[in-house]
């Protein structure tokens, strides 16, 4: 049977970063195909090219044997390839049915929208999937699970034969995950090719028919999955493929007796995001905050950084250096030089009589640059020209550079979108900070990172700390706490 979708030597660069390197891959009807790999392995980029959303620098995409040309999302949709993106492509203020219609609207004379026809079609698809959705509600008021279902309905209404989902379960509860895969199985049995990009190996173990591993933008392997014992064995091989041959070196950390409390939050409330957060971090310890994205992590960091004042509760935080989760919006001034970014917000320190002491500033900036290992070590380069990993190194170097003036560090998703080498360097900095007596709070969606670094892990769910676990707690336990007990997706979560 010819492949429904085949990718032929696709290649894509983003400036200095080679995101996808010559990947060829074929997807068949009737199968659920998982594409796995670490952060930054190129999974999303690859599938976006398959769906026409991103144009490849080289290579071809073939749908049913025919080249996808022109290479646009519109054409891909027309040819039957639909993608549900990680950050949903829904227009919030428009209603659910409007979103379903958008781009393929049924019309009467004069271009008048035939909403009845659209609704009928959408209802039929929803029935096939076994779900029901409020068609008239604005998309932004729907819960995360519903939004995802809406996106799937949209792809099916356009009669997609290939359905691609990018990290669909990142924001779902355990129950919703089962429901999703049941739906996907139904779709596959209906003759479609289902492709799921994920980093959750348990899903691969339980649901995938085939699994492809990407590493550093290259395809490493494609295997046929099996259930049961054989499956577990295969998973070991898959894991090895993901990590590469070298096992990650264990992070050496001299753990010290925790000292005084340097950061304390008591029953802090902020809007609907934080609903009574209580936590304590002592000098010399690294406390982790785990949790599904959208449970208040961002707001927590903002409160600690002093950017938002809580509605209720107490916050006591000694002088802190904060690394925010979005380095493009909050960490860096992309259009400014590396030098300016390394000392962002500290100009007052180098100012005498209103003028900046360029020599002193240069000295400090160079010191931070060298310490942080930024590549290329050019203070005059614009931040935007550096790779994600090096951009993050700048942000970290800036925070670390304030060591002698702060006693608390808050890191939010510090290694997101960062290559392995840079990530290790950043981990090293965090460990060192704790060793020198700082209180470190690490907010991360990467459980492995939390386990490797933290003395204890707090789980944040629905705006509250719902559990405190040791770093060696079984994955199952942590996972359950994160998705814990009837978690209701908040409107806006994960969007």
């Amino acid at each position: 049977m010819p492949a429904l979708l085949s990718l032929d030597r696709l290649d894509k660069r983003y400036g200095a970063v080679h995101a996808v390197t010559g990947v060829s891959l074929a997807f068949e009807a009737g199968k659920i195909h998982a594409v796995v790999g670490e952060n930054g392995a190129g999974k999303s980029t690859l599938l976006k090219m398959a769906a026409g959303v991103v144009a490849p620098d080289a290579g071809e995409v073939r749908v049913g044997g025919e080249v996808l040309a022109p290479h646009t999302a519109a054409e891909a949709i027309r040819r039957g390839v639909g993608m549900v993106q990680q950050h949903f492509a829904l227009v919030g203020v428009l209603s659910a049915i409007d979103n379903v219609m958008l781009g393929a609207e049924p019309v009467n004379a004069l271009g008048r929208l035939d909403v009845a026809r659209a609704r009928a079609r959408a209802d039929a698809v929803a029935r096939e999937m076994g779900v029901s959705l409020p068609w008239d509600a604005p998309a932004e008021t729907l819960g995360v699970g519903d939004r995802q279902r809406l996106e799937i309905v949209r792809t099916l209404v356009r009669e997609a034969r290939v359905v691609i989902l990018d990290e669909p379960t990142a924001v779902l509860t355990a129950g919703e995950v089962s429901q999703l895969y049941a739906t996907l199985r139904r779709l596959a049995e209906g003759g479609r090719a289902v492709i799921v990009v994920t980093h959750r190996l348990d899903e691969v173990r339980d649901h995938a028919d085939e699994v492809t591993v990407l590493r550093h933008g290259k395809r490493v392997s494609t295997r046929i999955m099996q259930r049961g014992e054989a499956g577990v064995d295969l998973l070991r091989d898959v894991t090895r493929d993901i990590m590469g041959e070298e096992p990650p070196p264990a992070l050496e950390r001299r753990r010290r007796e925790p000292g005084e409390v340097r950061l304390e939050m008591k029953d802090v409330h902020l809007g609907r995001a934080l609903r009574g957060v209580t936590l304590r971090v002592r000098a010399g310890e690294i406390v982790g905050i785990a949790g599904v994205e959208g449970n208040g992590q961002r707001e927590l960091v903002r409160v600690l950084a002093g950017l938002d004042a809580p509605d209720a509760g107490e916050v006591r935080c000694d002088a802190a250096a904060v690394v925010h989760e979005d380095r493009h919006a909050e960490g860096l001034v992309l259009a400014a030089t590396v030098r300016d970014n390394l000392v962002l917000g500290e100009l007052a320190r180098f100012t005498r009589h209103g003028l900046v002491d360029a020599v002193a500033l240069e000295r400090e900036a160079r010191a931070r640059l060298d310490r942080g290992g930024v590549v290329p070590p050019d203070l005059d380069a614009l931040a935007v020209a550096l790779s994600g990993g090096n951009q993050q190194k700048i942000v970290i170097a800036r925070a670390v550079g304030r060591s002698d003036r702060v006693s608390v560090f808050v890191f939010a998703q510090p290694t997101r979108g960062v290559d392995l080498g840079a990530a290790r360097a950043i981990h090293g900095e965090m460990a060192r900070a704790a060793e020198t007596g700082k209180a470190v709070l690490l907010v991360s969606a990467d459980l492995a990172e939390l386990r490797a670094l933290c003395d204890r892990i707090l789980v944040l769910a629905r705006g509250r700390v719902v559990a405190e676990l040791p770093p060696d707690a079984p994955e199952r336990v942590v996972g359950e706490a994160m998705l814990g007990g009837g978690l209701e997706p908040r409107a806006g979560a994960g969007a």
Binding site: A305, E330, A336, L347, A348, V384, A385
Partner: protein
Amino acid sequence: MSERGRQTLVATLAGIAAGWLAFALLVWIYGESPREVAGQLLAGTWGMAYGVGQVLYKATPLLLTGVAVDLALRAGLFNIGAEGQLAVAGLAVGTVGASLPPGTPAWIALPAVIAVAPIAGAAWAGVPALLRARFGAHEVISTIMMNRIAGAAVGLALARGLAVPGTVRTPDVVAGARLPRLEALGLPSLHGSAVSVALPLALVVAVLAAWWLARSRIGRETVLVGLSPSACAAERIPVARRVGGALVLSGAVAGLAALAPVLGYKGYYESGMGAGAGFGGIAVALLGRGHPLGLLLAALLFGTLEQGGLAINARVPMEVMTVLQGVVIVAVALADARVRAYVAGSIALPRRSRGTPP
């Protein structure tokens, strides 16, 4: 040449080329020969001493409004209100200058009247600045409104007694408050032209502005805020204060543009004086690309066009020059965006965020 230098050169050349094409087209449509008209333009400007002086005279306020608009642009703002700020400042300068005791010596009178200009301009920019900094209201509409209100307010003030009865101008300023013309100071070749000490003053301001942006703490923070308000806010840089401050400073510099016509040329303020310098300043700022030398050259270019327009007015309407301003602005901006996209490859430079859109 550095990457940025190359970008600047390409954009500037594109602007000039587009300007020339538009000029030639319009002149030809009007039925005249572009080359002849261009020749007449050059003859009437750089071809004679009086012309050179007039070009310099016209370039002076353009340089200042150009610096003013540039200052605002650095903070991510559009100050379209230079026209109104200039008018209010001109009225203030003319009035204060005329109210001084008749024998006031220059060393008292000049600093006094020169100080009035930026204060008035800054005050007029204060309302849009406040609206923007406190409430996030976009400054494009508010500064344009202030322009129109300035027109009416100045008219009202003149009608209500500030003007010499029967005219729309203030009384003459005292002798000590006049800025000497350059010809009187030893450049007799510029005889008859209105260019005054205001020109070197403008040059000093341009250099000072560039130096302030690069060396002072507030200046540097202002530039960073213009590039990314969110990152600066996250690092506790007072974004609203820098933004508001930049607009007020911009207004102050725009106010200085009134000095050349009021103190350097006529010796009084007349309704309508300095018209066109506000929008001309936008063209200068966009063409001058943030460098004092660039701003000066752009001011000289547009000053040439303005004076040249008068020289050719008999053959071709001088309004052609306003059209050229628009064309040059777009050409430079297009070339700039193009060049930026080409050089950056697939890296997109972040768009300047601008608070509430207009």
